[in-house]
């Protein structure tokens, strides 16, 4: 098992190299370079050239690629953002924490909704309970996250005033205030997390429902009944466990999806996460930030699929480890 994990881990290295290369090529194709943004009208063309030479911007592309990679690997240097005039790592680091907190809460809410609804819907399929749940899932499939976000924001944020309408923590709060600070953070997370969770969970609800209905027809479930198990045991012990398998395996992808998918909801809630930052970097042509974020989203997907494979191997004995 350790061996499998290790081997699977090593596969990520070529994947990451390819990813970095693609990101680098995208950056190459963009007009301008790191200096275009720092344009100071007082600098002469000659001085700019000297700067370029000093920064290595006139080197051939492979030298620059190498320098870039070495910078990332050895100094964790992703460059400087010219809009913020700060190292990229500092800007992303601060916001990544917010986005990760948001994704985690979203994930928790998602499964808290999907598991009970999926089970009820699957176990009692074609009853009124199932029909109501299915109606909800169709609504979810039809509604974009952004619309759901706006609806929640409008009703619970503006009209009822139960939740804040923006930011990640109330102004004036600082970490040394302890519990009230953390509560405020949580309070700010709830609406955006809920709006993503309510919509994205419907896929999982439907999947779980289908999986349960399918498993119910399987012969080993007949075996369990023939052994004398009652329906609760049949569902709770056998069907439920087997139905969760593919969902557990999907967890890794789900995480990657949520990190990458945070863009819209963070914009709607003016939430200071990497999603908002990404939009900002595009509109502001802040290439170093943009590149780093694309790299981050790509890496999240690669790590997510690694996690999925490892989880799959842990929960399904049929996957041979040898």
């Amino acid at each position: 098992m350790l061996q499998f994990t290790l081997r699977r881990f090593l596969i990520m290295i070529p994947q990451l190299i390819v990813l970095s290369f693609v990101v680098f090529l995208i950056a190459l194709a963009m007009p301008g370079d790191a200096l275009t943004g720092t344009l100071d009208p007082n600098l002469t063309v000659e001085m700019l050239e000297i700067q370029r030479e000093l920064l290595g911007l006139n080197n051939p592309w492979y030298v620059r690629y190498w320098d870039w990679i070495v910078g990332i690997v050895t100094r964790f240097d992703f460059g400087r953002s010219f809009t913020w005039q700060m190292p990229v790592t500092a800007i992303i680091g601060e916001r990544l924490g917010n986005t990760l907190r948001l994704s985690t809460l979203t994930l928790v809410i998602m499964y808290a909704i999907a598991i009970p609804l999926g089970i009820i819907s699957g176990r009692h399929h074609d009853t009124w309970k199932d029909k109501i749940i299915t109606a909800y899932t169709y609504l979810g499939f039809g509604m974009p996250t952004m619309v759901a976000g706006l609806l929640l924001l409008f009703s619970f944020g503006f009209n009822l005033g139960w939740f804040p309408t923006g930011l990640s923590v109330a102004p004036g709060m600082s970490p040394d205030m302890g519990l009230p600070y953390h509560l405020s953070r949580l309070h700010h997370l709830i609406l955006p997390a809920l709006s993503v969770a309510l919509i994205t969970t419907v896929g999982t609800v439907q999947y779980l429902r289908g999986e349960i209905i399918d498993l119910e027809q399987r012969e080993f479930i007949l075996t369990v009944r023939a052994k004398g198990a009652d329906e609760n045991r049949v569902y709770n012990k056998h069907i439920f466990r087997n139905a969760l398998l593919p969902i557990a395996a999907f967890l890794g992808f789900q995480i990657a999806f949520l990190i990458g998918g945070s863009v819209l909801v963070e914009t709607v809630f003016s939430f200071p996460g990497i999603g908002g930052l990404f939009i900002g970097s595009i509109t502001g042509r802040d290439f170093s930030v943009m590149m780093s974020l694309v790299l981050l989203f790509g890496a999240a997907t690669i790590v997510g699929s690694f996690l999925s494979d490892v989880i799959m191997m842990m929960v399904d004995p049929r996957i041979e480890i040898e």
């Binding site: 119910e216 399987r218 012969e219 080993f220 007949l222 075996t223 369990v224 009944r225 023939a226 052994k227 004398g228 198990a229 009652d230 329906e231 045991r233 056998h238 466990r241 087997n242 398998l245 929960v315 399904d316 004995p317 049929r318």
Partner: protein, 333 residues
């Protein structure tokens, strides 16, 4: 014959297809005695598996009518709670495909242990394990200790089938229902498994219902045989009645179509014309086998065929058996 274990009377099991219910098992009446092997034989789609499942009421979405009397108790009207007490304890089921009959995510030992635990929740862990080991040995698995912690996919087909049998006999049931227990196995393994079922019948003093399509298995195992076609029993009697003196056209056709029924390689095998009708297409009036022997005149059939006793204990449905001949034989053959 005394010691009736199970009695079915006008059993009818229906399934929903689109908006209507269709009977897959239609008007089945039979008895199974203690220590007896009753073989139920027929081709796929004739209702034999549906019959097996009905006895334990395993189909959650089927409609079961008629009478199933097991040791004097009516199963059709039994409460779900009572059914869970009977299943696995008094009646055990052996399934055909051992790979799909076992939960792929649970260790062999735990799956067998569940069968015991469900009927004895106070059993200690060590006693439970000891009993599982004993069962594994009883079904002829020698390396019980290692099989206990293996998963279903890690065993061979023959070994898995033994595990399925171990589960079925965990609580020494009085009735064992085996649904095509050897169909998925190689012949040498089949011989071993049949031997095992015979031995268990003797050890447990149980009645066995053996569902199969293999007439060879029937001849080797059965005391009595019921032949099913399109949801009905068309012929029932002792194994000698049915195998040596088959009367119903379907029974005769089945026996006749086996390669071993042919004396020379140059002869053609007998083919039963047409196909087994699918559930909604089963003819509900008259002789159900009629369409597959169209060279027999209409007048040979009864309008409402019933099982009639032709010699003591040997029943045949529809009078057409008296007029039946194979097309290659003359009318008077």
């Amino acid at each position: 014959m005394a010691d009736v274990l199970l009695e079915l009377k006008n059993l009818k099991t229906s399934f929903r297809v689109k908006d209507d219910y269709f009977a897959a098992v239609d008007d089945v009446t039979l008895t199974v005695n203690k220590r007896e092997v009753l073989a139920v034989v027929g081709e796929s789609g004739c209702g034999k598996s549906a019959l097996a499942y009905s006895i334990m009421k395993l189909h959650t979405r089927a409609q079961v009518e008629g009478k199933i009397e097991f040791k004097g108790e009516d199963i059709v009207t039994a409460t779900p709670g009572r059914l869970t007490q009977l299943r696995g304890k008094e009646m055990g089921m052996i399934f055909q495909d051992s790979l799909s009959a076992l939960n792929p995510l649970i260790k062999i030992g735990d799956q067998i242990a569940e069968a015991i635990y469900l009927h004895d929740q106070k059993i200690s862990k060590s006693a439970l394990k000891a009993r599982v080991m004993e069962l594994l040995t009883q079904v002829g698995i020698h390396r019980a200790e290692s099989v206990y912690i293996q998963y279903p996919h890690q065993l061979s087909g023959g070994m898995r089938q033994r595990v399925v049998i171990a589960m079925a006999i965990a609580n020494s049931p009085d009735l064992l229902i085996a649904d095509e227990p050897t169909t998925a196995l190689d012949v040498t393994i089949q011989a071993q498994i049949l031997d095992l079922i015979r031995k268990l019948r003797d050890d447990l003093d149980a009645g066995v219902i053996l569902i199969t399509h293999d007439l060879g298995v029937v001849a080797e195992m059965a005391d009595r045989v019921a032949v099913m076609y399109a949801g009905q029993i068309v012929e029932i009697g002792t194994v000698y009645d049915v195998m040596e003196n088959p009367r119903h056209p379907y029974t005769r056709s089945l026996l006749h179509s086996m390669p071993s029924a042919i004396a020379s390689k140059d002869e053609k095998l007998h083919v039963i014309e047409g196909v087994v009708p699918s559930l909604p297409l089963i003819p509900r009036v008259g002789c159900r086998f009629k369409d597959r022997m169209d060279w027999i005149p209409e007048s040979a059939h009864e309008a409402h065929p019933t099982l009639k006793e032709i010699t003591p204990g040997h029943f045949v449905r529809c009078s057409c058996y008296q007029h039946f001949h194979f097309p290659e034989e003359g009318v008077n053959a």
